[in-house]
């Protein structure tokens, strides 16, 4: 799909880094690498990334994945719209579930199939873009979508939707015609 994504890969194993670079080369505008979580924030500040691909296990002995979860928390603190894809070689179901519940948009197992990695990264970048465009909504658009939701939820009943929205029926009419609903 898109060749315009900027990806940050955080991974300690040089072989994996190289392999990720190769896999992502054809489909991304730019791939930056980091060997560890050190210097994560400056890297995020330096480039406008669309996805962070994050290893969960920097220390071989430490297979709990807490390093990855911690890194993800730091990414989210820096920019809540930026999506994180986690990767691990040792993942169990419990860890995967925990990671997604904490906000990762995908979780992939090493070794990966290149095609799958590319698809995951590309989908995650798309989610980032959606989040960012949702953040930029004008007040009008926020109001419009709130009204649409209320109307849907009340099955088109204008009176009860107006009541739920806390405005008069006449006011809801005006807004509906304003937004073409």
């Amino acid at each position: 799909m898109s060749t315009q994504d900027c990806v940050l890969v955080v991974e300690d194993d040089p072989d994996v880094r190289r392999s990720a670079r190769v896999a992502l080369a054809y489909d991304t505008a730019r791939v930056e690498m980091l060997e560890s979580l050190e210097g994560l924030e400056p890297a995020l500040a330096a480039t406008a990334f669309d996805v962070v691909l994050l290893d969960m296990n920097f220390v071989i002995a430490e297979r709990s994945g807490s390093a990855g979860l911690n890194g993800m928390a730091r990414v989210r603190a820096f920019d809540p719209t930026l999506t994180v894809v986690l990767m691990t070689a040792y993942g169990g179901v419990t860890l995967a579930v925990e990671a997604l519940k904490q906000g990762a948009v995908d979780f992939i197992l090493k070794p990966w199939r290149n095609e799958k990695l590319v698809a995951a990264v590309s989908a995650a970048a798309q989610i980032t873009r959606t989040r960012r465009s949702a953040e930029t909504l004008q007040l009008d658009a926020v109001e419009k979508s709130a009204i649409e939701r209320a109307l849907t939820r009340h099955h088109g009943n204008i009176s009860s939707a107006a009541g739920a929205l806390g405005i008069s029926r006449a006011a809801l009419y005006r807004r509906m015609s304003k937004y073409g609903l």
Copy 2:
């Protein structure tokens, strides 16, 4: 925490059903059971559930979990605010990831520890409640929170926040004082 949750359990194995009933008995207001996905919608319509606990593998031979994913889709179609917790005995990481990406709020492995099941169900019910209260927001409140987000994102710069919201600076001032910001 709460003893007021209503849970729907969809599970074909009678032993598992019984064991779920026992585990949930102390902490929930009401537990209903269904042996299969047949009659799902009527059951959802009859009671106002807070969580659906859904087995992924009704057919032994069928371990892909598609029955569970399908059931979850039906629950979400019926009520998008109602959370689903999936459970399985055969789950791999890939299936768990797929389930959460499709909107399950948790994914637990059989056999479970009762304590963990209760915690998962209770947390899911809390998420349902949060979603439902977010849906009921008055238009004023929607506007207020959109303004708060815009102000935060623009680091308190009123001019640029107003620009992003598509209103004049004066209008943003008025609203800020209206909402006490």
